[in-house]
Symmetry: C2
């Protein structure tokens, strides 16, 4: 069994090799942004989950590497296009692709990344490849649906919990689940186990996104890696803001809306005021409970997966590292 | 054998069915632009070529319909994104998607169309499907490369014939060739014949694009369907403008550059002046010769395709209708 750190190294080495190949392709202006996007780094979570899942059933991890690369390239494609749509200027401390190059570059280089992800996936030699392709395509469509919901929620005040959870399922969770199931399929695992891994990934993804929401308002700036309160300043619909709006009485609601509608303000003052409202409504505890409920679903599915404990123990390790806790 | 008109009807009926299905999907704002794009109509050239090629080897045309839909949906995806990048306002007499909806809609609905094209392709039951998927993916990447070259040429005066022909090969010809080869592969045709059909499609596509260039300046407004001189007004790099710039002596070249650089002008006057320069340089004849040379290559490949004449005669018919001439 490979350690998670080792799997990350394997993926980064392979991405480097692919980048080197792309750097020889023409036109350079199409492929330079691809390069730029892939060298941005990150935790390589989705390909790690894929390899880790494959590794449960087979030690020949190298067989699944093209699929791991594919899912990472796909994920980065979504970042390129989302950043245009969200008008995001910075990602991982560097200018986003549409800022560094141009919007047209970000559209077209994003497109080519979507197709490169299929190219890499098609390199996999597996008799279950057509199932993986169907899963991957279904997932890609769902991710687009999730992004559309996310954009629409920006202009709505009455987003419900159910709607929000469905949005993050589509936008974030299904891709993690897809990685886990794809790894199992490529290793020719039993369908039941493959579907359990999907279920596991879905709940892990939901917990992970809710935790991201939580840390953005209540995290430790140093370990979170970006400024606390970004979602509050952007009036972003998150599990926190939705529940605050929903649970607030008349007075707190009007106070919250005041801060959401105000055009000019002191950033620290706005963050402090909104956090104060969240605290009065126990939003932190509410979110922690929701994370806990998804975490319990993960645990339950994990126990059902009929594979030796030794083979599946890394699922615990990665869940713990993703959720910053002990399984 | 189905007639070309019958194949168009089959494709339009199937696209209508797919649109009806998409209209039931959520979020509607993601799928409405897909609908809008698919109901725009057009000649359905790429899916017709695919079915026609399949039909050479098999009468069970219905087996290849999902692939025909896939290639049409993919083509329309490229139109959505190209129209954003080119800032095009109108397509087929209707507002383009980014104008009618929004730029974000055109990006994201375009993305979902790219993945829908894989979804439809994956419905095909054929033992050669993985070859088709590889061909389709390679082609999609090439189409992105072609669009990148096309955008870059806008800002360059020294585009060579070789560069231009390579650009239209990538942007236009490979997709027609892909349709023809995919049809053959799905029908489990011999590899040699499948590759000959690809070659045929490539040369047909190059001739077709050059003819489009020619008609934009020298066509009959009524049969061409759009205003004559659009490329001239937009200073578009075409086979005509590239050869005019290349073949002009000092005096004509400076006259041509004057019209290309002038900020304010009377449209009819500019068109008349540039056509006058083209006429002095025999640009029409030069382009006709180039079209003829690709047409001869088509004929040559056609004769080599070892299939009964009766089965392949519709390739002649569609080539004639595309190039407005008798094979």
């Amino acid at each position: 069994m490979h350690s998670i750190t080792r799997l990350q190294e394997i993926i980064n080495a392979e991405l480097q090799k692919r980048s080197d190949d792309l750097r020889k392709m023409t036109p350079p202006n199409l492929y330079n942004p691809v390069d730029y996007s892939l060298e941005m780094g990150g935790k390589r979570l989705r390909p790690v989950l894929l390899l880790l899942s494959y590794n449960i059933f087979s030690d020949a991890v190298s067989e699944a590497i093209p699929a791991a690369v594919a899912i990472e390239v796909f994920h980065n494609f979504t970042l390129l296009h989302d950043d245009i749509m969200d008008k995001a200027q910075v990602r991982r401390n560097r200018p986003t692709v549409h800022i560094k190059f141009s919007e047209n570059n970000a559209i077209l280089s994003g497109d080519v990344m979507a197709f490169l992800s299929y190219k890499y996936l098609l390199e996999c030699k597996s008799k279950r490849l057509s199932e993986v392709l169907e899963l991957f395509t279904k997932t890609a469509i769902e991710v687009c649906e999730g992004q559309q919901f996310d954009m629409e929620f920006e202009n709505r005040l009455n987003v419900s919990n159910v709607e929000y959870l469905e949005m993050i399922r589509l936008k974030t969770a299904v891709l993690l689940a897809c990685g886990l199931k794809a790894g199992a399929l490529l290793a020719n695992a039993d369908n039941i186990v493959a579907n359990q891994l999907y279920e596991f990934g879905l709940n892990l993804g939901l917990a992970f996104q809710l935790q991201d929401d939580l840390l953005d308002s209540f995290g430790n700036q140093q370990s979170f890696g970006k400024k606390i309160g970004g979602d509050i300043l952007a009036n972003k619909k998150t599990f926190l803001s939705i529940n605050a709006l929903q649970n607030a009485g008349a007075e707190l609601k009007s106070e919250l809306l005041y801060w959401m509608n105000i055009a000019e303000y002191n950033q620290d003052e706005k963050i402090k005021a909104v956090l104060n409202i969240y605290n009065q409504l126990n939003i932190k505890q509410l979110t922690e409970q929701k994370i806990e409920s998804y975490f319990q679903k993960c645990r339950k599915v994990f126990q059902q997966i009929s594979v030796e404990d030794e083979r599946k123990k890394q699922l615990i390790e990665i869940s713990n590292s993703m959720l910053n806790r002990v399984f």
